[in-house]
């Protein structure tokens, strides 16, 4: 394999990992607050169509990205209202949100099936982008890719080095203790769920505005579920979520290259490889039961009643 091919694979890997990074980092924050939202796929796809519709109508891709984030938040608000205010079961509500989102997006997108749209373009930094290998590898992506990468240090800082993060984690561990200390558990969980929705929405908008770029029904094709799995297998650590997303993207791209090079492995096997590889690696590096316990939010998935029992 030549160096050029390697660079091409790496560049494609980054792009393939970005929608997963958005959705999974968002879900990580949600779960750290003790809420399990299985509606990531639904929020992503509604983000994808909303972003596409707004971009197609307004001509502004950035307005589209904002619309994607906003639509994801609206979806998350429905979920938050059901589970946090009405105390509905989180698993059932999340699943319903996904099913609802897939149907809703198909309905919204009827008129936008295969509408042509100029996607988000890679930025060009004079000199830097033209550097041989490094230019392509570091300075040749569209702005959303950089936003995704920027989210990582931001979230690490927030979760582990800020007071807000400490409160969020405390609520995820023991909402009743946090409540006893006077923290508004429900309000903070609302904010976390909304943030997760916005991130999933941006992830979806990245697919429809930059990655493909087009709208078609069911285009997220299970990426929301993969993002959910990434959070669990990465044992709720942002760094490992990032690693998992790139690994998944990388194996997906690499398997196409392997096919094209004519290696004799059945393509059906190659198709399942990204899932297999990602889960295996994450399970192996995170197999210490003590660290899993340490990182897993203790109250994950449990409803919290803030009145006195």
């Amino acid at each position: 394999m030549s160096a050029d091919t390697l660079v091409l694979i790496l560049v494609a890997t980054v792009a393939a990992g970005v929608p997963l990074i958005f959705a999974a980092l968002g879900e990580l924050i949600v779960e750290k607050s003790g809420v399990l939202n299985l509606g990531v796929e639904g929020m992503m796809i509604v983000g994808a169509i909303s972003g596409f519709m707004v971009a197609a109508e307004s001509g502004s891709l950035w307005l589209g990205v904002l619309a994607g984030a906003f639509a994801g938040m609206l979806m998350a608000l429905v979920f938050a209202f059901l589970t946090l205010s009405l105390m509905a079961n989180q698993v059932a509500s999340g699943l319903a949100l996904t099913i609802f989102g897939i149907g809703l997006s198909a309905y919204m997108g009827q008129a936008y099936n295969s509408v042509a749209l100029d996607g988000l373009k890679a930025i060009q930094i004079p000199l830097l982008s033209d550097l041989p290998v490094v230019g392509k590898l570091l300075f040749g992506y569209d702005p959303l890719v950089y936003l995704a990468l920027l989210m990582y240090p931001l979230l690490v800082w927030f979760l582990y080095y800020s007071r807000g993060g400490l409160i969020l984690r405390a609520i995820g561990e023991s909402p009743s203790s946090a409540h006893a200390l006077g923290y508004p558990v429900i309000k903070i969980r609302y904010l976390a769920v909304l943030f997760g929705g916005a991130m999933a929405g941006i992830g979806g908008a990245y697919l429809s505005l930059a990655y493909t770029p087009l709208w078609s029904e069911g285009m997220t094709a299970g990426r929301g579920w993969i993002a959910l799995a990434l959070v669990v297998f990465a044992t709720w650590r942002p760094g490992r979520v990032l690693l998992g997303a790139f690994l998944f993207g990388g194996v997906t791209i690499a398997q196409f290259h392997v096919q094209g090079m004519g290696v004799e492995i059945p393509s059906q096997f190659l198709s399942m490889l990204p899932y297999l590889a990602t889960i295996t690696v994450l399970v192996l590096i995170s197999r210490n039961a003590a660290t899993i316990r340490l990182n897993a939010p203790a109250s994950l998935g449990q409803a919290f009643h803030n009145e006195v029992h």
Partner: protein
Amino acid sequence: MTDKFTTDRRQVLKILLGSSLMAGSLPLFSSLALADDKEKLKVAFIYVSPIGDAGWTYQHDQGRKQMQDKLGDKVEVKVLDSVPEGAEVERVVRELASSGYKLIFGTSFGYMNPMLKVAKAFPNTHFEHATGYKTAKNLGNYNARFYEGRYLAGIVAGSMTKSKKLGYVAAFPIPEVLQGINAYLRGAQSVNPDVELNVVWVNSWFDPGREREAADTLIDQGADVVTHHTDSTAVVIAAQEKGKYAIAYHSDMSKYGKDAHLTAVTHHWGDYYTKEVQAELDGKWEPGSIWGGIKDGMIDLAPLNAVVPADVKEKVEKAKASIVDGSLHPFGGPVVMQDGKEVVAAGGSLSDEDLSKMDYYVKGVNGKLPK
């Protein structure tokens, strides 16, 4: 008392008389309604996906429209889209048949068995199924020789490639897709003998993200003309963005990549639908097993891009005419497999039977076929 009784009896008589009149007129009404039904034949179309702006279902719907333009005053048409293959199909077909639809078209492979089942239960209703292989007294099937169009598209691709590497994004390794791949390469080889073809299987009919990744991969590997046997427009969009050429499938997709789009292998069902509905109107419908090609107007190429030189255009026209008059068969001998084994010697050609069982790559395709 008696008086009242007689009034009552009279009323009873009135009612009896009235209802018998009603009853007498009933057959009249229903025969009128029947006559109205007879004048307007009820025809239904069932599609597997949304109609959209391009693709497999879109082409069927264009055909449906063409039929209605010609026979619109004689038929009443119902269209059901997004009917997924599976349990739902039988319910949908049964409902149509029992509500008076006399001719029902189903356009997805997976509809075959449910349609066959319903056909047995409704012997007076006629059914037509696209791309299947089962027939019954009231169930016909129809399909197109997509590979003929692929051969012509191959001529365009073989002429336009500079890297001598072509790329093909394919869904599943079934005979229909392999016919397309092999015919495409043979068409390209007919004008450019040492051209190569790389195939990437995405194992999905429809997944724009993966189709895009596959197209990008092929382009990264040096392919400068890419084509696809999948359902979205992602491959054409990828080629447009990367400044390469693409050949679309199902529909003309030039609006998704005006520079990249060289041509498209397009499907045309209008003439067929018109013919079948007309036969039904005339009471002459029979279950057929149709495999139509360029000659029958079922397959064609979209207008060539302006960058395609005139001599290439001429070659395509010539090949098209030869396929129509039968002097050229896209799988005319010698047909040689990847490993050098000859399937058909010079002078012969693959039979329809051979084609329907195709499970190999011809020489010039890189990589091994997933089995």
